[in-house]
Each structure stands twice: as C-alpha cells, then as structure tokens.
C-alpha cells in the first residue's frame, strides 16, 4: 500500500528527519495568511498529492512565485486532484538518493544510496552501477555504516546521512514498510540534508497490525477492485472482454496468458483463493458481470477447493440472474464428479482441459 508524499513526510518529521517547511490544502479555501507566511522563500513548490509517478512531467509539480500559489493550486485542483502540498523552495547544492527496501535474493533488507539523486534509480543501476551503493543487511550497525561512508565523497552528506539512515530504518520497522525512499535527499547550500520527497510503501500483509492504515488501503483501486477487496477476492482490472475466475494466482496468471495465446483478451484477473465457498463464487460472478464482458471462462483445479462448492455457487448465481454471455467452465479435482452432476442437472456443461476450454470461449465470443 502506497502512502502519499505528505503522509510519508509526516512520518519522517515525527522521526526527526528534516523535511521542507510545508502545509497541505484540500480546497482553495484552505489558504490563509498564517500557513503561507510560514513559508519564507519567494518561490514555492505546488505539489499534487497523487500516487502516480513522474508528477513533474505531467505538470503536477510546479514551482511558482509565492503570490501565484492559490491560482496554481486552483488549476491543479481542477485537474481532479484532491490534495495539494505547498512547500518552500530549497536552495539546492546537491541531490542524493537514499532508500531502504527489501532484497528478495538476500532475504533481507537492502540499503540503496547514490550521490547522484533525483533520477531514476533503476536506470542508473543499469547504466552506471558503480554510482549506486547497494548493501543487503539485517541490522544497521557500525560495519554497515563504515562500508557506506567510505564510498561517500561529500563530507557534509557523509556526516549527516548515518543518522538519517538509522531513523529511516527504525521508521520502516515501526510501520512495516516495504520501501522507504528519499529521492531526492537534498544537501542545501548551507549544508543541511533535507528530504525533498517521500515514497513509502507499506506491506499489505501487515495491515492487520496497523489499524491506522487499513482505511487508506482503498485508494488507487478501481471501483471493481475496491468491491473485490471488500469480499476478500484477489482482483485486478484489465482491458479485455473475457471475464476470468480461477483458483490460485499462478493458475489465473497462466489462464490470462493462454487466453492471449489463443487470440482472446482477459477483462480481469480474479483468484478466488484456496477452499473457496459457494458465497465467494457467487460474489465473483457478480463482480465480473458488473463489467461489459462478452464471455466468461472459469478455471478451477480443485485441491483444497471443492469443485462441488464452486459448481453450487455458479448454479445459484445462474438461477437468480440471467447470464446472457457464453460461459465455459473448466473444472478438475476434488469432488469433480459431484460438480459435474450439479452442473449437468442445471444444463451447464464443463470441459476438463484448460486449453480446450480457452479455445472454446474464444471461439464462442468471436461468433457473437
């Protein structure tokens, strides 16, 4: 779950990591003498608080004269933005990059630092890897910091960054962060290190122990994705017209690939998960039918998942609604015979091969 810049900066501030002087507005009316006067610089940065990247390129971060702040904010609000951060302009001497993330291969945390900040760190890692310092670690100790320090050229950066790193890691552990990134971390002309941006991603698996963030989880999801999340379904909106329901993330991803291979296009990713119930199946159908789709492909390999439960869910839904699009059901595994019985009693047939099933649904929607 991604936090917005101002939320990340709030966390930094509370941890004692310096951030620029700023205030948040949600409406043009939020501007007053007081909040603007706290900003001492002649120019301000007006920053849309949205989760998409490359805000500067899309004109969602602009630097304007203080007197034009309100106008600029209005302009950005009109673009559909809900929250804007107004910030003092920093007197930049140098931009560095600092982040702590997880390292999948080392099964640990990873410190990333570059004296060349403000850029795309991935690109820099690829094109000039010698400029990126990457250190996997479990704890921040003197050994780690010396390893880092011997590679930092700028004395002021070197002297201040250790403290920031300790605070950043402490924060990361407190909030169950997957990534805490400061890009750029700015060295001002009077040699102070200030976090000019904040990118914080919280581990979704940890939300059960962070009540304060649970309500934030809904942001950046489409309407259907939000509904799915409420029902405990793993769902992603895609661009195609064949609704997909499957059990198991790998199986569903593979189904999307196979559909594509045979000339179709999936409307969504939906994993009902292990041991799915009749209710979950009904909810899944409801969800995918809420979009404009031309056909449905259901792919179930029943391990813990009982095929007869899935079949019952499908039958319940079909009975209560009129499904006008072709459905192809592929089911195999636990209780498949019972499932077959249930479906056939209700005049719904199924196929036991995934690829044959895909070919069939693609064929059927091409006909209509």
């Amino acid at each position: 779950m991604k936090l917005k810049e101002y939320q990340g900066k709030e966390l930094f501030k509370n941890k004692g990591i310096s951030i620029p002087e700023n205030f948040l507005v949600r409406d043009s009316k939020d501007f007053n003498q007081d909040n603007l006067s706290h900003i001492k610089t002649d120019e301000v940065i007006v920053k849309a608080q949205v989760l998409s990247g490359k805000r500067k390129k899309s004109g969602l971060i602009v630097c304007v004269l203080k007197k034009d702040t309100k106008e600029t904010a209005k302009f950005i609000f009109n673009k559909g933005v809900d929250e804007i951060l107004i910030e003092e302009e920093l007197d930049i001497q140098k931009e560095v990059y600092l982040s702590i993330t997880i390292d999948r291969f080392s099964k640990s945390y990873c410190l990333l630092f570059s004296e060349e900040g403000g850029i795309d760190i991935e690109e820099l890692s690829e094109k000039q890897p010698e400029k990126v310092i990457k250190i996997p670690f479990y704890e921040i100790d003197e050994e780690l910091l010396s390893k880092l320090n011997e590679k930092i050229n700028n004395q002021f950066v070197r002297e201040q960054v250790n403290d920031i790193i300790k605070k950043l890691f402490s924060l990361m552990k407190e909030i169950d962060g997957e990534l805490v990134e400061i890009n750029p971390l700015i060295l001002t002309k009077d040699n102070k290190l200030i976090a000019a941006d904040a990118k914080v991603i919280i581990d979704d698996n940890s939300l059960f122990r962070h009540e304060e963030y649970i309500s934030m989880k809904q942001q950046n999801l489409t309407d259907t994705e939000k509904k799915a999340s409420e029902h405990g379904l793993n769902y992603v909106d895609l661009d195609g017209d064949i609704g997909i329901i499957g059990n198991g993330a790998g199986l569903v991803m593979s189904t999307l690939d196979v559909i594509n291979h045979f000339g179709g296009s999936a409307a969504n990713f939906l994993d009902v998960g292990g041991g799915a119930s009749v209710e979950k199946m009904e909810k899944s159908l409801e969800l995918i039918l809420s979009k404009n789709i031309k056909g449905i492909f259901i792919n179930i390999f029943g391990g813990i998942t009982r095929c007869d439960e899935i079949a019952q869910g499908i039958v319940n839904h079909v009975k209560n609604n009129q499904i006008k699009v072709p459905i192809v059901i592929r089911m195999i595994g636990t209780n498949e015979d019972k499932a077959k019985e249930i479906l056939e009693q209700n005049n719904i047939s199924f196929i036991d091969s995934m690829e044959e099933g895909v070919k069939k649904i693609v064929e059927q929607i091409t006909k209509t």
């Binding site: 997880i102 999948r104 291969f105 099964k107 640990s108 945390y109 991935e122 690829e126 479990y138 552990k173 169950d176 997957e178 581990d203 979704d204 698996n205 940890s206 059960f208 122990r209 793993n234 992603v236 895609l238 499957g246 059990n247 198991g248 993330a249 790998g250 199986l251 569903v252 991803m253 593979s254 999307l256 690939d257 196979v258 559909i259 594509n260 291979h261 999936a266 990713f269 994993d271 292990g274 390999f301 029943g302 391990g303 813990i304 998942t305 195999i332 595994g333 636990t334 995934m354 690829e355």
Partner: protein
C-alpha cells in the same frame, strides 16, 4: 532417493487443531506421511485422529523425534511458530499466506544462523510421490518417477503435474517454494539437491513474474546443472505495477518480467514452454 523427504521423515504439525491444520493432517496421514505429533498452545492432551497434541514443540520433542514441522498457523502468529520450531532445530514448511515481510525476514535470518531449511511461506508444501507429503496438494494426481519439479505456484503446479502424470511422466520430488516476495528454499537450493539426486533425471521449473530468482537460477544452471531443465513462466500478459494474487508476483519498473526470466533461462539452455501443455512435449524431446 528423492530430495528432502521420504517415508522415514517425521513431522510435527503446528496449528494441528485449527480448521486447515486438522483437515490436512488427516490427508497427509492418509497419504503415508509420518506425523508424530501436533502443537497447539493450550490443547495439550487432545488427539487429532490418533495424533497427540502438545502445548509446545519442546513438549512434543520430549516424547517424539521429528525432522520437520509444517505450519498451519494464521499469519498473525506464524513468526512465533516458525521461530519456536527453528529454535528446536526443526526444518520448517510454512503453508500460511499473508505473513508480514518483516516477520519473514526475521525467520530467514534465524534459519540462516541455524542452517535449517524453510520452505515457503505461502506455499502448498512439498511431496515425494508415493512416500511422503508435507503440504496441501492433492496426493492422487502425483505419480512416482524421474522428474523433479520446483514451483512458485500452487494450483498451477497441480495443473502441470496432472498433465505429466496423464502422459506417464512421473515425479521424483515436487517442491512448492511459495508465492511471497521473500521465500526460503528457492530455485537454486532445489536445483542443487535435484542435480545430486540419483532418482531425478529431468527438472521442471515453474516460475512467474516478480523478483529475480529465475534469472539467478539461470546463472546457476549454466555452470552447475547437467540434467535437462524445462521451464514455464506465468504472467506474460500481466500489467506492470499490479500485484497479481501472489505478494511476490509484481513487475516493478523494468524488473521481474516474464520476458527477462525467459531470456535468462533460454541463455542457460533451459527449454521454456509457451503453454502449460508444451511442458510434456519438451520433456519428451
């Protein structure tokens, strides 16, 4: 000999009295797995089937010997369960999905210090067909044979095993390594074991988008694996930046794409299937 587990492997089930724990204990036992005891705090003295339940692993180990613990404990308590098992020198299989990353890192750190095996988390477990099953996979689709399989997926693994078995291609060992961002036993660990296993003649890798484990495995295969390897990577058509079910199945920026994994594997002379059904063809080539 197959790898990691066999008829002699003794297992403790943590979370044995829960829904998932008890359900799968029955199935594992029926398959032939030697389940010696179960652990659920507060339930000492109970029986699941005829398997004795203890409050702690330490209590259980006073009366029984064990090699592995399989964990069916909810995500909230998984770290405590895993650490308890590791502190008692047991290798572990973590079935649980949803374990927080910071918890997983702690588990991995301890496992590394103790040189113990962690399979998972968020995995279906592992099976040596016709000998032992430590997991939730449907036993009847597997058949003893010479193909070793390593997979990040659950049901996709069953899908592919089903094809293999139907085509008379049996399996020596099948290990579900899990779908999370950080997992224990990975492709390289499995490849090392399978390369050294006399019963394994061919290897199948089932990967998916996210991370770089397949790419690292490809590097390893070039210099260390002589047996033929066939792979399949799910998520070719997945969009960037979206988590596709598995916490670890996400393309971040440019890395973790199916293309990158396929290219790396092909460079290592691994045959990469375009469809699940192609795997049988490639194994028979």
């Amino acid at each position: 000999m197959s790898i990691l587990i066999n008829k002699q492997t003794k297992v403790i089930v943590q979370g044995i009295t829960g829904n998932q724990g008890s359900f799968h204990t029955n199935l594992m036992k029926a398959y032939g797995t030697q389940i010696v005891a179960g652990v659920t705090p507060g339930k000492q003295g109970q029986l699941v089937e005829d398997i004795p339940v203890y409050n702690t692993i330490e209590e259980a180990l006073k009366e029984h010997e064990a090699d592995y613990s399989i964990i069916f404990v909810p995500a909230k308590f998984t770290k405590a369960a895993a650490i308890e098992a590791l502190n008692n020198n047991l290798n572990i299989v973590i079935i649980t999905e949803g374990v927080p990353i910071h918890d997983t890192i702690e588990i991995m750190k301890l496992a590394k210090e103790k040189d113990l095996i962690v399979i998972g988390p968020n995995c279906p477990g592992m099976i040596t067909p016709e000998e032992s099953k430590l997991g939730i996979m449907p036993g009847h689709i597997f058949k003893k044979g010479e193909v070793g399989m390593i997979s990040r997926s659950g049901t996709l693994t069953y899908e592919i095993i089903n094809e293999l078995t139907r085509n008379n291609i049996g399996q020596s060992s099948v290990i579900g390594i899990g779908g999370d961002q950080i997992i224990g036993f990975n492709f390289i660990d499995a490849l090392k074991h399978l390369e050294n296993d006399d019963d394994t003649k061919k290897i199948v890798m089932i990967g998916e988008i996210g991370g770089n484990l397949e790419e690292k495995a490809a590097e390893f295969i070039k210099d260390n694996v002589t047996k033929p390897v066939v792979a399949y990577i799910a998520g070719k058509t997945a969009p960037k930046g979206k988590t596709m079910g598995h916490a670890g199945a996400i393309i971040s920026g440019k890395s973790g794409t199916a293309e990158s994994k396929t290219a790396a594997l092909e460079k290592a002379n691994v045959k990469v299937a375009n469809l699940p059904s192609e795997i049988v063809k490639l194994l028979n080539q």
